[in-house]
């Protein structure tokens, strides 16, 4: 029997009471990042320790989704924002389990497990004190790290699945108007107004309409969608129920890449639980609205994140995009009207319906409302997953939340928008992060990848890296993308080897524009971004490679040598100890030299030298 609103409240209440019976709740992050750092092992040990000590009635050990601070995993939290412990069980599992129990029973804070501010003595107890969390505004990820993603009751206890009741009281048009007025834009990268898309899908002729949730996250280093699917799967389903009702669709698919087995398993479980409660199925919550969701596992091609390629893939054909002169909201999956949104977009929907327009539109900028999840990676001190209000500046993200650049190096560029985003230089650090600002400087919001680079990153090499990725991931359907990305890569590779010609720069720009205008889909159209943006902002580096035959960052091996400056070297032998091939020779306390015959130009000597005695030439 489908649950009524009263029954839903009762389920939530019962769950809350069950949890309230415990004195302390220890939450262990069981996102993929923390699991690879040993969270499952920790969870098991902790649970058996609680049982062994006879504390089962007093302490609840709970698994949660991703907290975002993956680099410091496994993350454990106690109470509501009371204590955050990091790298728990990573070095000494038994000791850390004991420390956790001590905290839970005696309130004794384990100094050892607290997060330290980089380069400072200061330690943080509550996650609210940690700069990484302080600057965040968690809407979509609010429940990540709080609820157990495998328990629907937990989601219900935290206010979940109330939005459909509210939505069912509204007309379809009213819901669509509400989403339009909220200013919600597509979180998958395009930034298309969600309400407008829903409206077109609603208006489209056809008995059968489909909903799609895009969870085919393929950007290297990005894990926003994964953490959401793993940490709060019900929010996506709840959003889809509302979307299905508004548009008039009875069937939704969540497209998840198969490399995300945990996301697949948690989503499957969530769907099953929702079906058992009558939240999905013939009569959603007892209404006459029928809606069901199925998971489709993607085969791993990057291009399948493109809407038409994704639909092709669901239909069982090769993941090739098509021209969208006839929109997918009119003819999409199996040529039926189809509304595709990114999983993050779907997860925004319940809070808009629940909390109302005034609240939602108060977050963000004029043209970009709400929050955005980014995966902040690269040369920052705190890498991880962040959710920030639109309009926050890049500087705030990188230097406040991210804790600045690692070590003693300087910021050089930040790459936003995934592999086909652009590289943004220092002069734009104070720009607000929103869809339009990023596009205006040759980059894009994309799905939310953010890679920070420092002086030791060569921008030509960076462009080459992304073009190699895009070349390999091009589906090969249209000529400009298939052949163009390959030829751009070839030219960049030549420049990195010191064989570039000055006319290559003009050629790259011309070829880039050819792709922007000529390719079928977003992959090919945006593929030139990393090249064009680096030529635009870092032409000096290109010229150094081409004219002077040197790589200023010391990355391009063919044109880089490392030498030790005699006057600066103290003979501390640090580089000699770290050199992987034993190329550094010399007596202790005397200047060292590098044997060019052995040197593999990895640059470790340069990176570790405390006296800046190693020179790139």
């Amino acid at each position: 029997m489908p649950l009524s609103l009263e029954q839903l409240d009762a389920v939530g209440l019962k769950f809350k009471e069950k949890e309230r019976a415990f004195e302390k709740i220890i939450r262990v992050c069981c996102g993929t990042g923390c699991i690879t750092s040993g969270a499952n092992r920790l969870l098991e040990s902790l649970r058996s320790a609680v049982e062994r000590e006879g504390l089962s009635s007093r302490i609840l050990v709970k698994k949660t989704g991703c907290h975002g601070l993956c680099e410091r995993g496994p993350i454990v939290t106690l109470g509501k924002d009371e204590i955050l412990y990091q790298t728990v069980g990573k070095r000494d599992l038994d000791r850390d389990v004991e420390l956790l129990l001590k905290t839970a029973t005696e309130g004794k804070i384990a100094d050892l497990l607290l997060l330290k501010a980089p380069g400072k003595k200061e330690k943080f107890v509550s996650p609210l004190e940690i700069p990484f969390y302080k600057g965040q505004k968690r809407v979509v990820l609010e429940m990540n790290g709080v609820i157990n993603p495998e328990e629907i009751d937990d989601y219900i206890a935290h206010g979940g699945y109330r939005a459909p009741f509210k939505a069912f009281q509204m007309t379809q048009e009213k819901i669509i108007d509400c989403i339009s007025a909220s200013g919600l834009r597509g979180r998958g990268g395009g930034g298309f107004p969600t309400g407008r898309k829903w409206h077109s899908a609603y208006e489209a002729d056809g008995q059968m309409k489909y909903l799609l949730a895009n969870g085919d996250e393929g950007d290297p280093g990005a894990f926003m969608d994964r953490s959401l699917m793993e940490g709060n799967p019900h929010a996506i389903i709840e959003g889809m129920i509302i979307g299905g009702y508004a548009i008039g669709s009875n069937k939704g698919y969540i497209y998840v890449r198969d490399e995300y087995p945990l996301a697949v398993s948690r989503l499957s479980r969530a769907i099953e639980q929702a079906q058992n409660y009558g939240i999905l199925g013939r009569n959603v919550f007892g209404s006459d609205f029928e809606f069901d969701v199925e998971i489709f596992r993607g085969g791993g091609a990057f291009v399948c994140g493109e809407s038409t390629a994704l639909m092709s893939s669901v239909e069982g054909r090769a993941g090739e995009p098509r021209d969208k002169y006839v929109h997918t909201v009119e003819q999409g999956l199996w040529a039926k009207p189809t509304n595709l949104n990114n999983v993050e977009t779907w997860a925004n929907v319940p809070s808009i319906i629940n909390e109302g327009l005034e609240w939602y539109t108060s977050i963000g900028t004029k043209q970009s409302k709400g929050t955005k999840i980014f995966s902040l990676v690269g040369k920052v001190n705190n890498t991880g997953l962040i959710e920030v209000p639109m309009g926050i500046t890049l500087r705030q993200i990188i230097f406040d939340l991210g804790g600045g650049i690692r070590g003693r190096r300087r910021f050089k560029a930040v790459q936003t928008g995934g592999p086909s985003g652009g590289c943004i230089p220092e002069q734009y650090l104070d720009m607000p992060v929103d869809f339009d600002s990023l596009a205006s400087i040759g980059s894009m919001m994309g799905s939310g990848g953010m890679i920070v680079m420092d002086e030791r990153d060569c921008m030509v090499d960076v462009a080459r890296y992304f073009l190699q990725f895009l070349m390999e991931e091009s589906c090969g359907k249209c000529t400009p993308c298939r052949e163009g990305t390959r030829r751009m890569y070839e030219i960049l590779d030549r420049i990195c080897k010191g064989e570039g010609k000055i006319e290559d720069l003009m050629h790259l720009e011309e070829l880039g524009r050819g792709l922007q205008w000529g390719a079928i889909c977003g992959l090919g159209q945006t593929a030139p971004n990393p090249v064009l943006s680096t030529i635009r902002y870092f032409s000096d580096e290109y010229k150094a490679h081409i004219i002077e035959g040197r790589c200023p960052a010391g990355v391009c091996k063919d044109i880089t040598t490392f030498t030790i400056m005699e006057d600066k070297c103290t003979g501390c032998m640090r580089c000699a100890a770290e050199c992987p091939v034993g190329a550094v020779v010399g007596e202790r306390k005397a200047p060292q030299t590098i044997n060019d015959m052995l040197c593999i130009t990895c640059g470790i000597c340069y990176d570790v030298c405390p006296f800046d005695a190693v020179k790139i030439s």
């Binding site: 249209c478 000529t479 400009p480």
Partner: protein
């Protein structure tokens, strides 16, 4: 009927018609490679691009797939159109240096030589997919397909092995715009896509004509006795 303008000239077209067809009917020259009368197009080659201004928005689109719209302004020779066509042709010239059609089209667009290292392993195949679709949609045997993605994408029978379903009809050879697919006949044997077919000898003129395998397939699917099919078309 809808009214649109191509290069400033007012033109009318039927609703749902594709730009390419309309433009060609009106005498505008738009080069194509992957478009075929019988199969339509999938917009792969991007040679037929034109610039359209629709509701104030400028786009470069594949004319073979773009349906006409009321009030559309079309330009078949703008700077962006030329850029895309030249880009495509230069890239194809580097991919298929031996393809005469590509050489010809490239020259027509002012490209005599590509600035890239020419490929040696791609033959004349531009991956237009016409052979694959012809084999599937017209012949009805689906012996060919595309495999791989990106730079290693290629066309051929599954696993590059002689196909079990290929009937050796050679329709792919006929439809291929660049002459990439090789079919050879010698001493009563036809070789195509690495598969050998014994040719039927016409009982009347004693000349070899079609593969026995193909005749058997026709006999089976069209219900025509083999004896009839063994006689070549000239002698029937």
């Amino acid at each position: 009927m809808v009214q649109l303008a191509i290069n400033g000239r007012r033109v009318s077209a039927g609703k749902g018609e594709m730009l390419l067809k309309v433009a060609q009917r009106e005498g505008f020259v738009i080069p194509t490679l992957c478009y075929h009368e019988l199969l339509g197009s999938a917009g792969r080659c991007r040679l037929c691009v034109v610039e359209v201004h629709d509701a104030g928005k400028k786009r470069v689109v594949a004319s073979c797939l773009y349906p006409v719209k009321e009030g559309l302004e079309v330009f078949t020779d703008s700077d962006e159109v030329k850029l895309v066509r030249r880009t495509v042709l230069e890239l194809l010239l580097a991919r298929n240096p031996s393809a005469e059609l590509i050489q010809h089209l490239a020259r027509q667009h002012g490209i005599n030589e590509a600035r890239y290292v020419p490929d040696q392993d791609k033959g004349k195949c531009i991956l237009c997919n016409l052979c694959v679709r012809c084999c599937k949609e017209i012949v009805g045997v689906s012996a060919l397909g595309l495999s791989g993605k990106g730079p290693v994408k290629k066309v051929g029978p599954p696993f590059d092995e002689p196909s079990e379903t290929c009937i050796g009809c050679g329709a792919c050879v006929v439809i291929c715009p660049t002459g990439h697919i090789v079919m050879e006949e010698s001493k009563g044997v036809r070789t195509i896509w690495k598969k050998k077919f014994a040719l039927a000898m016409c009982p009347t003129c004693k000349r070899y004509h079609l593969p026995i395998f193909q005749l058997e397939w026709i006999s089976k699917t069209r219900n025509i006795p083999m004896e009839e099919l063994m006689v070549c078309e000239d002698c029937r």
